[in-house]
C-alpha cells in the first residue's frame, strides 16, 4: 500500500509546486522505518525496534468537545483549556477551527498534533478545491484525513477530530476559504451570514449526500459518521446532559443553550476541562461563531439559582 504522503512527495519532486520547500518539512518522519534512526543512540540497544527516547516533558491533553446535528444544522462546542501534566499550559486555546466556509473541526488529544494535522488537512482541502474546482464532500474529507493519519497508527500521535459540516449539492463550486469579513464573533441573537455564497440552495435538501454531516476521525483509525459525538476526558459528563434533552426538533437557541450547558457541566466535573466555551453553528450558509464565554460567571449564576431553589 502506498502511503499517501509518499505519493505526494513523488508528485511534488517532479513539479515544483511547493516553491522549493519539500513536503517532508511539514509531515514528520516516522519513528520506525529509518534504519539510521537517530533515536536509539545507545550502541547495544535490544533487538526490539520500538525503543523510544523518553521525553522529559508532558504534552497537552485533556478536553471536552462535542458536536450534534439538529433541524437547524450542526452545533460544535468545546472548552478552551490546554493542560500539560498538572499545569494549565494555556487557558484560551482554540479547539474548534474552521477548515473552509462549510466545515469546522473540533480537536481533542495532543494539542500540537491536532494543530498541525488541521493545518495539513486545510492545505489538502484547498489544493483539492483548486485542482478539481469543487469542494470535497465531508465524507471525502474524513476519508482523506483518516488515510493521511494511517501511517502514524501505533505511534504517539494522538488526534481525535470531529468534522462538523454542511455538504452542498453537487455542482455547487463555491466553497470559499473563510473570507476575512466574516462575522467571526457574533451573538446568537444576530443573524450571521458568513460567506459570499449565493443562497439558492436554502431548503434542507432531500438528497442524502447533502445537508449536515458529523464525522469522527481518530488517529487509531476510526472513522464514524453519526448524529452526536462528544470527545475527550469530559465527554461522559457532556453525553449525560446531551442525551437527556437532545431532539431533532430543537430550535437554534435551544440547541445552543443545550451545547453550552453540556460543556459547562463537563468543565465543572472534569479537572482537565475548563475556562471558556466556544460554540460554532454550521448551516447551509456556512459557519458562524458565538462569542467566547467565560464559564466562571456561569458558575456563580448557577450557584445563585441553586440557593434560590432551596430557599424559595
Amino acid at each position: 500500500m502506498t502511503d499517501y504522503y509518499n505519493f505526494g512527495l513523488r508528485r511534488l519532486k517532479k513539479s515544483r509546486r511547493n516553491s522549493g520547500i519539500p513536503l517532508h518539512f511539514f509531515i514528520p518522519t516516522l519513528p520506525n522505518p529509518a534504519p539510521s534512526n537517530n533515536r536509539s543512540l545507545f550502541p547495544y540497544s535490544p533487538a526490539n525496534q520500538s525503543v523510544t527516547v523518553r521525553r522529559p516533558f508532558p504534552l497537552s491533553h485533556g478536553t471536552t468537545t462535542l458536536g450534534f446535528i439538529f433541524q437547524g444544522g450542526v452545533i460544535a462546542a468545546a472548552d478552551t483549556r490546554a493542560s500539560a501534566g498538572g499545569l494549565v499550559a494555556c487557558p484560551e486555546v482554540h479547539k474548534i477551527t474552521p477548515i473552509h466556509s462549510h466545515l469546522v473541526v473540533t480537536s481533542s488529544g495532543s494539542g500540537a498534533d491536532c494543530m498541525l494535522w488541521e493545518r495539513i488537512l486545510t492545505r489538502e482541502i484547498r489544493l483539492y478545491q483548486l485542482r478539481h474546482r469543487r469542494c470535497l464532500s465531508i465524507r471525502g474529507t474524513a476519508k482523506l484525513l483518516s488515510f493521511m493519519l494511517h501511517p502514524f497508527k501505533g505511534t504517539e500521535v494522538c488526534v481525535a477530530l470531529t468534522l462538523c459540516g454542511w455538504d452542498k449539492d453537487a455542482g455547487n463550486t463555491d466553497c470559499t476559504k473563510m473570507s476575512e469579513d466574516l462575522s467571526s464573533t457574533t451573538d446568537d441573537s444576530s443573524s450571521a451570514v458568513c460567506s459570499s455564497q449565493d443562497v439558492t440552495a436554502m431548503a434542507h435538501s432531500a438528497s442524502p449526500s447533502s445537508g449536515p454531516k458529523l464525522i469522527y476521525v481518530c488517529s487509531d483509525g476510526a472513522r464514524l459518521q453519526g448524529d452526536i459525538f462528544s470527545v475527550g476526558s469530559g465527554s461522559p459528563y457532556a453525553y449525560g446532559v446531551l442525551d437527556r434533552d437532545l431532539r431533532w426538533s430543537l430550535s437554534k437557541e435551544e440547541a445552543i443553550s443545550l451545547a453550552r450547558e453540556a460543556v459547562f457541566r463537563a468543565t465543572h466535573r472534569d479537572a482537565y476541562s475548563g475556562n471558556n466555551v466556544d460554540l460554532f453553528h454550521v448551516t447551509a450558509q456556512g459557519w458562524s461563531q458565538r462569542k467566547r464565554e467565560d464559564l466562571k460567571e456561569e458558575y456563580y449564576r448557577d450557584m445563585k439559582r441553586k440557593t434560590n431553589i432551596v430557599e424559595g
Binding site: 511539514f26 521525553r55 500539560a84 484560551e92 494543530m115
Partner: protein, 237 residues
C-alpha cells in the same frame, strides 16, 4: 509550560540512597534551566530572559542569554536544553535566509511562528527539548507574542512566561497584565516603561525562588525604531 525536573532523568537531582539495581540509560536530553518571558504592548514587544546556564547542581555560565535576534522586528527566547536551542536557532536563521532569497522580503513575526511550528513538529518523535517564545511586531506594527510547546503547538498571546520558573511567573502576569481575578479594577493598557519595570520586578522574584534562574537579566525591547537591549544584574546565588 511546566518545569521539567519533575519528569524523567534530565535535570532531576540524583537520589543519594540505595534503591536497588537501576539500569542507567543514556539520555540525549539535559535540562539547562533558564526562564524566558515575553510581553506584547500596543506598539512594542518585550522579550526578556535570565542568563544562567546550569546543569544539575552546577552552573556552566553566568552570561548565556536566551534571547536571539531573528529579524529587525522579531526576537525569539529559547529555554530548555541548550544544545537544542543552539541548533534550532541555526535552523531558523537558515530558513529565514532561504525565505529572503526566494521571496525578496523578510519574514513577518506571524510567518516565523508558523514556520517554527512546522520545524518543531517535523521532529515529533524525537522532539527539540526547547520552550520557545517569539516576541515582535506584526505587519500592523502592534506587539505580538507567540508561545510554543516543544512539539510545535502555538498560540498568539499578549504575555507568556516559559522555562523553569514559568509556573511561578505566569500567574503573576495573569494578574498584573491580564487583570484576571481582580474585581473593580480599571483595565489600563500597558505602557512601555511600566512593562519594562514589571518584567524586571518579575524576574527579581523568580530569581528568589527558582534555583535555575538568576545571575543577570537580558531585556530586549522591540519597537519600530529597532531592538534595544539592556542587561540588569540579578542574584548570583
Amino acid at each position: 509550560m511546566i518545569s521539567a525536573h519533575g519528569f524523567g532523568d534530565p535535570g532531576k537531582m540524583k537520589e543519594y540512597h540505595y534503591t536497588g539495581p537501576v539500569e542507567h540509560r543514556f539520555s540525549p536530553y539535559a535540562f539547562n534551566g533558564g526562564t524566558v518571558l515575553a510581553v506584547a504592548g500596543e506598539d512594542f514587544a518585550i522579550v526578556a530572559s535570565d542568563t544562567r546556564l546550569s546543569e544539575g547542581y552546577s552552573i556552566h555560565s553566568r552570561d548565556s542569554p536566551k534571547c536571539y535576534k531573528l529579524t529587525d522586528t522579531t526576537v525569539i527566547g529559547c529555554s530548555g536544553f541548550h544544545g537544542d536551542c543552539l541548533t534550532l536557532t541555526k535552523i531558523i536563521d537558515a530558513r529565514l535566509k532561504m525565505y529572503k532569497h526566494s521571496n525578496n522580503k523578510s519574514m513577518t513575526s506571524g510567518a516565523i511562528a508558523a514556520m517554527l511550528s512546522t520545524i518543531l513538529y517535523g521532529r515529533r518523535f524525537f522532539p527539540y527539548y526547547v520552550y520557545n517564545i517569539i516576541g515582535g511586531l506584526d505587519e500592523h506594527g502592534k506587539g505580538a507574542v507567540y508561545s510554543f510547546d516543544p512539539v510545535g503547538s502555538y498560540q498568539r498571546d499578549t504575555y507568556k512566561a516559559g522555562g523553569s520558573a514559568s509556573a511561578m511567573l505566569q500567574p503573576l502576569l495573569d494578574n498584573q497584565i491580564g487583570f484576571k481575578n481582580m474585581e473593580g479594577v480599571q483595565h489600563v493598557p500597558l505602557t512601555r516603561d511600566k512593562a519594562v519595570q514589571l518584567v524586571k520586578d518579575v524576574f527579581i522574584s523568580a530569581a528568589e525562588r527558582d534555583v535555575y534562574t538568576g545571575d543577570a537579566l537580558r531585556v530586549c525591547v522591540i519597537t519600530k525604531e529597532g531592538i534595544n537591549e539592556q542587561t540588569i544584574p540579578l542574584r548570583k546565588d
